[in-house]
């Protein structure tokens, strides 16, 4: 019993710390005198992020339960080849910031946009585009948040021995509360702290595994004697063929530009120096963290060779190799990864309901009809409600949402990638192109993912991206061009 308590103490401390950071962030919030001001505070923190926080929030929103449990679990089965695959995620921060960073920051300020939907509305002036994107965001985010909650609660159960519901309640309530109360500032500050916890957790477990395996050289020798395929770049029995692994350069490399929870950060930083340092910090930290976590999974096979399922690798390694206290510290890592993904999604889902749908269609865009107090209560309420719904769903997970989550990452990319990128860089991008690209992208992605035609190991996202691009070009060619006013606003000179 005392072991159980020892493992839960670091988790409780960590959750309390998250709440504390959120409350502290709330104190720093600038008092809002107008509804517009409140929106800029609650949903984007007054565009005040510095370099370190910007880097950490992009990493933390991007990395999730799969970086700590699912990914290392596959690495346990497929060896170094899967670590090689995971390292494709290294460019995510610098690519997002380098390609979208400055343009988004400038455009966001010119148009007053605080979410990706705001930007799309200003750029395409099309209700269809905004509603399609907002709905896609709500559906995929709800499914993704649910999967994160379930993953976190199961891991908690496996490591601490407390029931599923206890873990779910503990971190579910914490994350929903601090997000609702603290808004964007709380989300990014807790992200920064969670990022640090994630790095510590990844290092601790890697060191423990290498030590238990008798040093790095010995671990690799053991792996080689189990199956030489574990130490090749193509995996045991060529299970990670090149067309498959190269698809991930499209899925996570280019595709990251289509994830609203990370791209929105490009509107929220303070100045260009913050962006420059975030590109460097972010690349180094995400590389280090992903390497440690996945390598632990691979080398774990040399320590515990006979686990029935890869997903058990990380929880079992932690329980076997670490003292209960350190197991608790480690468990805080994946919990941090989960919470930092959920909080960003929660806030953006709430923004989609309040800003993109309610203010625009309920109030016909006339925000002055709301007092700042009322807007505040509604925003808290909507964040709380969405969080609570996801929490309820995680108690008794509905099959449909679990199924949708399999497609959340690719689906978001299919919807957002081209409308976001081409809207920024191509003057001919128009509403018809955006709508065509969203619809074609979704249809192709779901058709290929469900029907699974033979494609020589290529991931469904590759043809999806190409088809969506062609559809966009066709729409831009035949549809009505963007209004000159929009082009002036987006490309026009500073006065």
């Amino acid at each position: 019993m005392s072991e159980r308590i020892a493992s839960i103490v670091p988790v409780l401390l960590y959750l309390a710390l998250s709440l504390g950071v959120a409350l502290w962030a709330r104190k720093r919030e600038v008092q809002s005198t107008s509804p517009q001001r409140f929106i800029e505070e609650y949903f984007i923190g007054g565009r005040s992020m510095g370099g370190f926080v910007l880097a950490m929030t992009i990493i933390a929103s991007y990395t999730s339960a799969s970086s700590f449990v699912g990914g290392p679990g596959v690495a346990y089965q497929l060896g170094l080849s899967w670590v090689l695959l995971s390292m494709i995620q290294v460019p995510t921060t610098f690519l997002t910031l380098g390609i979208l960073g400055k343009r988004f920051a400038i455009v966001g300020r010119k148009t007053g946009a605080v979410t990706i939907s705001d930007y799309l509305r200003a750029r395409y002036r099309s209700d269809t585009v905004v509603i399609l994107c907002s709905l896609a965001l709500l559906v995929f985010f709800m499914a993704a948040m649910l999967a994160q909650f379930i993953g976190g609660a199961r891991l908690f159960q496996a490591v601490t021995g407390y029931p599923y519901v206890v873990g779910l309640a503990l971190f579910g309530i914490t994350v929903v509360l601090y997000t609702a109360v603290g808004g964007f500032r709380a989300v990014v500050l807790t992200d920064a702290m969670q990022g640090i916890v994630m790095v510590i957790a990844a290092v601790v477990v890697l060191l423990a595994v290498v030590q238990a395996g008798g040093g790095m050289g010995q671990c690799i020798a053991t792996l080689k004697s189990i199956d030489p395929g574990l130490i090749t770049p193509t995996g045991p029995k060529n299970s990670v063929p090149q067309p498959f692994i190269l698809s991930f350069w499209v899925l996570v490399g280019l595709g990251i530009l289509g994830l609203p929870q990370t791209t929105q950060r490009c509107m929220a930083y303070k100045d260009s120096q913050s962006l420059h340092s975030a590109m460097l910090i972010g690349t180094l930290i995400i590389g280090f963290m992903i390497l440690c976590a996945h390598l632990s999974g691979t080398l774990g096979r040399a320590v515990l060779p006979n686990l029935p399922a890869g997903d058990l690798a990380m929880p079992t390694l932690i329980v076997e190799l670490l003292s209960p206290f350190w197991a608790g510290v480690f468990i805080a890592g994946p919990l941090a990864a989960i919470m930092s993904t959920v909080d960003s999604m929660l806030l953006l889902a709430s923004a989609a309901i309040i800003k993109d749908l309610y203010i625009h269609y309920g109030l016909h865009g006339n925000i002055t009809r709301l007092s700042p107090e009322k807007l505040k209560i509604m925003s808290f309420g909507s964040t709380l409600t969405i969080g609570f719904l996801v929490f309820l769903a995680a108690l008794e997970p509905p099959d449909l949402l679990v199924w949708i989550n399999l497609f959340a990452f690719g689906g978001l990319e299919a919807v957002f990638l081209w409308p976001v990128v081409l809207g920024l860089y191509w003057k001919k991008a128009n509403a018809a192109g955006a709508i065509a690209s969203i619809l074609v992208g979704l249809v192709v992605f779901f058709a290929l993912s469900i029907l699974k035609p033979p494609m020589g190991g290529i991931h469904a996202i590759v043809p999806t991206t190409l088809a969506a691009l062609c559809a966009f070009a066709a729409g831009a060619y035949w549809g009505r061009p963007a209004e000159p006013e929009v082009l002036r606003l987006f490309w026009g000179k500073m006065q």
């Binding site: 390292m87 690799i220 770049p233 180094l284 390497l291 500073m494």
Partner: protein, 104 residues
Amino acid sequence: MQANDTDKRYAQANKEAILALIAYAFYFIWWYVCAYGLGDGDPELYSYVLGLPAWFFYSCIVGYPLITLVLWCMVRFGFNDMPLEAETEAKTAAEAKAKHKEQV
């Protein structure tokens, strides 16, 4: 719209976006050549660095600090500071920066 009406910051931002793509291409080539160039043969014949197969050491352990270094050079020599504010605010920011330079 005439080219000279375009927001001047965009030319620089485009240049930086291209640099980011070049960094992406560089990382890809490094990753690919090290992993499959050194690792495609028979595992019995692998050479090792610090206990790890050489292909893995160079592609995964060396790759990400190396790309960070490349990015540092790019940011240092290719990226410029620029005001992000729209219109009037941009002016005050530029003025503030000029003032700051004078003081330094």
